[in-house]
Symmetry: C2
Subunit: 257 residues, 2 copies
Amino acid sequence: MAGTSGKGKPDHQRPLVDTPKGSGRRLRGVLLDFLGERIVTGEVAPGETLPGEVETAEKLDISRGAYREAVKMLAAKGLVESRPKTGTRVLERVRWNLLDPEVMRWAFAGRPDAGLVRDLFEMRAAVEPSVARLAAKRRSDAQVERMRQALATMSEAGLTHEIGRDADRMFHETLLAATGNQVMMTLSASISAAVAYTTIFKSRAGGFRRDPVPDHLRVFEAVAAQDEEAAAGAMRELLDLAYDDTQHALADHAAKA
Amino acid sequence: MAGTSGKGKPDHQRPLVDTPKGSGRRLRGVLLDFLGERIVTGEVAPGETLPGEVETAEKLDISRGAYREAVKMLAAKGLVESRPKTGTRVLERVRWNLLDPEVMRWAFAGRPDAGLVRDLFEMRAAVEPSVARLAAKRRSDAQVERMRQALATMSEAGLTHEIGRDADRMFHETLLAATGNQVMMTLSASISAAVAYTTIFKSRAGGFRRDPVPDHLRVFEAVAAQDEEAAAGAMRELLDLAYDDTQHALADHAAKA
DNA sequence: ACACTTCGATTTGTAGGACTAAACAAGAGA
DNA sequence: TCTCTTGTTTAGTCCTACAAATCGAAGTGT
């Protein structure tokens, strides 16, 4: 791993950033997660500048090349900006690409931030009904069939099980594909990345307060019947339910701490 | 620029990817644009794999380091994925981060794709009314004042002039900030990047069919009065107008070609 | 006080080599 | 024949070390 002989330090037992080891994870990848998470969680505040690249690379005992590639990926996501002489500095939050799935993942790595969850649900409230509406308008019969099956396995397994969550994702994914709208598809891909984390968080903390299957069913039926307004309405209800559950899970979690 | 002596080729007159020269643009940056544009416009189809990195770097007469950093930035935006032995391949469109401002820029570099424009406006139709609603609910007096001023300069200069477009951007930016919603702010940042290109495109091709200032004014007044429903409605009208204009500009452009 | 120059810190770009993962093919064993 | 293992090859990954362009700030001259 370390060139011809590293930096004189023994190859066994590296000092920092747990080694990628035998896993498929690349060194650059773990470094990216390491830095990205530290930035998104606010551990290094916007405006601050990271120590110089030679210095950092040395401290973490990795090469400048690997470090630079990780930093360039952060820059591509709008988290940092690096210029000669000034160094690499963390940008203000507004410049961040919050919609990037990886950024979302970092944001939800620790405990979910209540403000971010609220913002996210406000966004979903704006977008998802329109998604349902468009899906009702343009869905194909094959997509209806796929959603029916996903719904079936979902009601069998329940959302507490892995297989049920998979079915849930499949349901929403197909709904999205039915809109035929590229932009909405990528947006919701990011959102559902975040939603997956809150869902798993919910099922950890306290379980669900109401069965989500009936609401999914209403959405499905409206889409199948191509009733646009009903689809939008059903989706709104589904979202309200999810928001309530998330709020309660968050409150429970806060109470315990 | 070229190490000790490049690759033996004379330093004057480089073969490909116009050199960054005295400009502030970094070599990696122009390479990123070059590759990104080629991918987004479909010149290299999804599924295809780029030639090997040594080969490419050699052909373009740049170092592997610079090339790799550019590719890593593309990977961060979800455009490509590179693995040993397989090479670097372009991902399917659904995995692209279309909301990334740079990806948007590449998408609108050539002639705007009609389908993408439609998708974008469907998205705006879903999101922007909610933006107006939230802004009406939470706006501060200072923000109202800022919007008033932007509107004033905008009605003076008109959207055909640079200064007018700046004021327009300022108006929408402030409206966005008034929502207090981080997620919506980043989303609309991406969207307005695209909108800026269509706007400049519109003013090139045929001008505007209707004065946009009155519609902006209606939005402003509703937000100032904290009338959420009126704000949403006014925004919907504003969007309809913009969509009509864009459609006609697109049609004119197509007719000429 | 103002413009111009120099200097130093830091990123940018270059070169070439060693390591490793992954795909493919060939061979060994059942 | 089929599967499992083993080698071979390919291309990305990671490493070191050096040269150069940039830009801020301090210094210098007028």
